[in-house]
C-alpha cells in the first residue's frame, strides 16, 4: 500500500522531531511514504475563527492534491500526523458532503481553479497505520532493545479521537498503549489521556494555559510515569517548554521528559538517536536507570 504524507506546518517547525522520527520509523518498517506535493496549511483552529468557507476550501485543496497523486482508481491513504491537521481534514471531508450548500459552493470554486475532489481520500493517523496496517506482531518482531525501564503516560490529546473516533475508543483510547506495551514498556492507567492541553492558550492567555498543563503533568508524576508520549506537536511543545515556568508558578516539581510516541518506538527498534531527532527534545526519555537525568539527580533541561 502506498501512503501520501501530509506534514502540516508544525512538523516543519516546532515539531521537526516528530517528522524526523516518523519518517525514519516508516522507512525502517518498510512503508512507502511520499510527501504530498505543494500542500498548504490546514487552517488549524485559528483559521476557522475568521472565515468558515475559506477554512474548508484550504482542506479541500489538500484533499484534491492528494487525489491527484494517486493513479485515479484506488483510495489514497493520506497520513496526517499532527492532531490539528488530522481533525481539520476529517472534518472538512464530512462537512463538505453533509452540508450540501457549503460543499457545492466550495466544489464550484475548486473546479474554477482546476482542482477536483471526488472523495477517494482516506485520512489516516500514524497510530492507525501502525496498529491496523503494519500490525503489532510485525513491530514486536523488529524490537532490538526492550523498553522495560519506561513507565509511559500515553497522551492522546483532544483532536485525534474527538469528535470523530475512527480507529480507537473515544473515551479510553488504547492504540498507543498497546503499541508501547509490545515493545516492553509499561503504560500507566491515565484518565487524563484525552484531556485538552489548552492548545494556543499558553501563548495567548497563559493563566489558563499553564494551569491546564500543570494538571496534566502533576497527575502523570503522581501516577509514577517517567515519560509522557504524545502524538501532537502542540501538546509536546506545551507540556515540555513550560515545565520550568509551571514549576516556579505552582512551587511544584513536575519535570518530566515529553517525547513523541514515534521516537519511543524508534528507539526500541534500534534507530539512531540522531535520526529520531532526540537532540531536539529538552530531555530525551531515559531507557535505563543509569541514563535517567530527571529522577537520578540534576535536571539537565533547566
Amino acid at each position: 500500500m502506498n501512503y501520501v504524507y501530509y506534514p502540516g506546518c508544525s512538523l516543519k517547525g516546532i515539531g521537526r522531531a516528530y517528522e524526523e522520527s516518523l519518517l525514519s520509523l516508516f522507512e525502517h518498517i518498510g512503508l512507502n511514504v511520499s510527501e504530498l506535493s505543494d500542500w498548504n496549511c490546514c487552517g488549524a483552529t485559528a483559521y476557522m475563527s475568521i472565515d468558515e468557507s475559506k477554512a474548508f476550501a484550504l482542506s479541500a485543496r489538500n484533499l484534491a492534491l492528494a487525489e491527484m497523486q494517486g493513479d485515479g482508481n484506488e483510495t489514497i491513504n493520506l497520513i496526517a500526523p499532527c492532531s490539528g491537521c488530522y481533525l481539520v481534514l476529517s472534518k472538512a471531508q464530512r462537512y463538505l458532503s453533509e452540508y450540501r450548500p457549503l460543499g457545492d459552493k466550495i466544489m464550484d470554486a475548486m473546479r474554477s481553479t482546476g482542482l477536483n475532489y471526488t472523495g477517494k481520500v482516506r485520512i489516516r493517523h500514524p497510530l492507525d497505520v501502525l496498529v491496523n496496517d503494519v500490525g503489532l506482531e510485525k513491530i514486536s518482531s523488529l524490537v532490538k532493545r526492550s523498553l522495560g525501564y519506561l513507565r509511559v503516560a500515553c497522551y492522546y490529546g483532544c483532536q485525534i479521537m474527538r469528535p470523530y473516533a475512527t480507529f480507537d475508543d473515544q473515551h479510553e483510547p488504547n492504540t498507543m498503549n498497546r503499541l508501547l506495551q509490545v515493545l516492553g514498556a509499561e503504560t500507566i492507567s491515565w484518565p487524563l489521556s484525552t484531556r485538552c492541553c489548552g492548545g494556543s492558550l499558553t501563548g495567548t492567555f497563559d493563566k489558563v494555559g499553564l494551569r491546564l498543563n500543570y494538571i496534566l503533568l502533576k497527575d502523570a508524576v503522581r501516577r509514577g510515569a517517567n515519560v509522557i508520549a504524545t502524538a501532537c506537536p502542540l501538546c509536546q511543545f506545551n507540556l515540555e517548554s513550560y515545565q520550568t515556568r509551571i514549576g516556579r508558578q505552582y512551587k511544584d516539581d513536575v519535570n518530566m521528559p515529553i517525547a513523541y510516541f514515534t521516537q519511543i518506538i524508534g528507539s526500541a527498534l534500534g534507530i539512531s538517536e540522531r535520526r529520531l531527532g532526540m537532540r531536539r527534545l529538552f530531555v530525551p526519555p531515559a531507557l535505563s536507570a543509569a541514563g535517567d537525568a530527571v529522577r537520578g539527580g540534576g535536571y539537565v533541561g533547566k
Partner: protein, 210 residues
C-alpha cells in the same frame, strides 16, 4: 437596564435580538441549537468552563433568548480551544464547538474585542500568513503576537526562544506554497458569502477588560 434594589439585570424585549438564535442556527453546525435541553453536560465536561464567565450551557440559552450583546462580549467563546469534549458528550448532538467558532467569527468580523487582546490577533495573523504564503510558521506567528500585544513578554521568553533555536526548532522564514496563485484564487472565489453574521451587530458594543 440596571435596577438598583431589585433584580440585578432586567432586559426589555426591545433590547434583545430575537433573530440571533436563528442566525446561529442557520450556520453549519448550529442547526441543533434549539434541541438543547439545558442539562449542563457541556460545562461539566469542558476542561476550561471554570475559567469562563458563562458556561456553554448558559451561552446557548442566551443565544436562543437573543442576548446578543452579552454573548458576544463574554469571554467564553475566546477561551474555547476546540477540544470537542462538549460536542462528543452532548446527549442532544448540539455541535457546541461549532457554535463557539461562529461566535468568534461574529465578534471578529464586527470588531467586538479589546484592541490588544491576544486571541483574535493570533487568529488574524494566522489568516494573513496563510493568505500570503499558504503556510504558517509558529516562531514568526508567536513573535508577531508578542509584538502586537505586549512586547515585554518577548523578553521573558528569550531563554525559551534561545533553547528552541539551539535545537533547530525555530525558523524565521515561512515556506511558501509553489502554486500560491491557485490557492489565492480559490480563496477569493469562496470569498465570504457569510453575510449571515456580517451585519449581525449594529451600533457600537464596548468590551470591558476580562
Amino acid at each position: 437596564m440596571e435596577v438598583k434594589n431589585g433584580w440585578k439585570k432586567l432586559k426589555y424585549e426591545a433590547d434583545v435580538d430575537p433573530t440571533f438564535g436563528d442566525k446561529i442556527a442557520s450556520l453549519p453546525g448550529g442547526e441543533k441549537i434549539y434541541a438543547c435541553m439545558q442539562c449542563g453536560t457541556c460545562g461539566g465536561t469542558c476542561p476550561i468552563s471554570q475559567y469562563m464567565d458563562y458556561t456553554p450551557q448558559k451561552i446557548i440559552a442566551m443565544i436562543r433568548a437573543g442576548f446578543k450583546k452579552e454573548v458576544l462580549t463574554s469571554f467564553t467563546n475566546w477561551l474555547c480551544c476546540s477540544c470537542y469534549s462538549c460536542t462528543v458528550e452532548c446527549p442532544k448532538g448540539v455541535k457546541i464547538t461549532d457554535i463557539m467558532y461562529a461566535l468568534k467569527r461574529c465578534a471578529i468580523q464586527n470588531g467586538i474585542h479589546q484592541p490588544r487582546f491576544a486571541i483574535p490577533i493570533l487568529a488574524r495573523e494566522f489568516f494573513n500568513s496563510v493568505m500570503k504564503h499558504g503556510r504558517t510558521n509558529e516562531s514568526r506567528l508567536t513573535l508577531l503576537l508578542f509584538l502586537k500585544t505586549n512586547p515585554l513578554r518577548l523578553l521573558r521568553q528569550t531563554g525559551l526562544g534561545l533553547k528552541l533555536w539551539r535545537q533547530g526548532r525555530l525558523s524565521y522564514r515561512t515556506e511558501s506554497v509553489k502554486n500560491i496563485k491557485q490557492l489565492r484564487r480559490l480563496l477569493k472565489t469562496v470569498e465570504r458569502k457569510e453575510t449571515v453574521l456580517k451585519g449581525a451587530v449594529q451600533g457600537p458594543i464596548t468590551v470591558e477588560a476580562p
